[in-house]
């Protein structure tokens, strides 16, 4: 309880309380996260289960709309897609997949990036040059390009069935590996600043080994910029996944993420079934927007030089 009280009294919490944008973004984001977490409880049907889908229910518009070819159906709040899948359930499950991929891809980026950043910043010299040139090369190839090449080759050589099973894992790994330089560079810069401070010398004078010094003394002091890039990177990873799914290289139609939902509805947008594309798009945009707004707010709070009067 004591800790909770300190947290509630902190400057951080005060600045959160007084910032409307932060509160709204945080609430919306939490809403999305909870919706994704409790998707199985909230959704009327399981969109991954083909037995529950009836093709006769296809392309039913959302409840509030009228004038479409078919009449709205009470069972489907947000309408159905071309296979007769309930859009609300599909979006909830899709949100779940998008967020999972976003978080895990960032976890992969973080692990690789932090390890490389710490090593190259602390040891310097040739190790540093090697990893940083590797990062330059990695950055000169866009994430999308690498992802498209890897996923296309994988799909072509192992077949679509295996791909469907491994899609989430593959997306996490590809997006994770393609974006590690962001973390490595940020961490390296902080390590370079920290390692010349006297507390690191003090640890060396004690006789501690390099791994202990890095993990115990340097890493904790380089974490605050990480929090900020992490928010941006989660948003980026979700966008990358959506873009790949839209191109048909991401999540399969049987297990749609937000991106695959947008993509699957795209063919029908001119035949009047706008809701299949538009509603998942709105959810995706809101998700990314709130994450980015929260990241911006976090950057302002954690950087004392940016106090805005």
């Amino acid at each position: 309880m004591n800790r909770l009280k300190t947290a509630l009294d902190s400057d951080f919490f005060y600045r959160f309380k007084t910032d409307k944008v932060a509160i709204v973004s945080f609430s919306v984001l939490m809403l999305f996260f909870l919706a994704a977490l409790f998707a199985p409880l909230l959704s009327p049907m399981d969109p991954h289960d083909p037995i529950q889908i009836d093709i006769m229910d296809s392309e039913i518009p959302p409840l509030w709309s009228s004038g479409a070819d078919t009449d709205p159906d009470e069972r489907f709040l947000l309408g159905t897609d071309q296979q007769g899948r309930d859009m609300l359930s599909a979006i909830l499950y899709g949100l779940r997949i998008s967020i999972v991929i976003g978080l895990f891809a960032v976890a992969v980026q973080m692990i690789i990036g932090i390890a490389i950043g710490l090593i190259s910043g602390y040891f310097g010299g040739r190790i540093d040059s090697f990893f940083m040139r590797l990062a330059d090369i990695q950055l000169s190839l866009s994430t999308m390009m690498i992802a498209i090449i890897v996923l296309a080759i994988f799909q072509a050589s192992f077949g679509a069935d295996l791909y469907e099973e491994l899609a989430i894992f593959m997306l996490v790994m590809v997006i994770g590996i393609a974006e590690w330089p962001q973390y490595a560079r940020t961490i390296r810069a902080s390590v370079l600043a920290e390692k010349n401070k006297e507390y690191v010398d003090a640890a060396r004078v004690i006789g501690l080994g390099a791994p202990t010094i890095i993990m115990r003394h340097i890493l904790p002091n380089t974490l605050s910029p990480l929090l900020v890039i992490s928010t941006v990177q989660v948003a980026n990873a979700i966008i990358s996944e959506a873009a790949l799914s839209f191109l048909g290289l991401g999540m399969p139609v049987t297990m749609p993420s937000l991106g695959s939902l947008i993509s699957s509805g795209f063919e029908f947008i001119f035949s009047g079934s706008w809701w299949i594309t538009v509603i998942p798009s709105v959810v995706l945009i809101l998700l990314i927007l709130t994450i980015n707004l929260l990241g911006d707010w976090l950057r302002d709070v954690l950087n004392p030089k940016l106090y805005k009067g």
Partner: protein
Amino acid sequence: MTKETATALVEVKEIHKVFDLGSHFLQKHKPKVRAINDVSFSIYEGDSFCLVGESGCGKSTLARTVMGLLEPTAGEIHYRGQRIDHLKHKQRRPYHRSMSMIFQNPYASLNPRRTIQKTLEEPLRFHFPDLSTQEIKEKVEEVMVSVGNDPSWGKRYPHEFSGGQRQRLSIARALMVDPDFIVADEPISALDVSIQAQVLNVMMDAQEKRNLTYLFITHDLSVVEHFGSTVGVMYLGSLCELAQTKTLFAKPRHPYTQILLSAIPKLSCEEMQHSKLTGEVPSAMSLPSGCVFHNRCPYANHRCETEIPLLRSLEDGRAVSCHGVEEGRIDA
């Protein structure tokens, strides 16, 4: 002098330290900074060896080289007769225990993310892994009290303390493993004058109680007079004069030491005979030929421009590296 016969605790033998400046492969001559040039001295047990000199003369580099934070380019460092500068990290461990360091900037020398208790326990836990939690706690308390700190500070973080308090915490950390030798790199220069005396007293108390030997780096001559038993004067990476504090302050011999000492502010006007030094300290990237001080020295002659003077012992126990003193041209 009886000290001459005793073995030195720390011996620095002909240390050179050259820093390569960042250069690219098209450059023919890599720029180099010659931070320390052929410096040798011995520190005896119970001594407070003070190194003085102006900013950038290599005092801190020398201190860090002695502690093993930097590797000497050439030369040897001995501790109780054992050469330690070439040891591998693991072999150096017993020396990490008996040598400790106090840093200049109290605001940077404590890890901001660790509590005081953790910071102080760290050296103990590392060097004495067998100690029980209770024993560690007692030891921390004992050391905290001995440097004038409240043992209940342990739960707090460094940013909650003032400069003087932090420097005392820094001293406490250095004392945790009962070292024999402590390098203090300008420990008081970042502090308020009123706090300087307090921290110095803490250090002198600790020396008395724990039988410590200090290598004390400073640019404050009044502190040297108060604190030091032996003084080494450095200029541009070289040792100019090495003497007992009393001998040096009574009669400086090296022209640089003379000018340095004349710069100490005095109360009465009659004593003021401030000799001004012209020009600036030459860059350590291109050292003057011969004696490094020759282009600013009022007594320099042709020999000074060409030949590097060696540190020669004089009859009163001091050592001076100056052609003028050796030839008897200078005796002030």
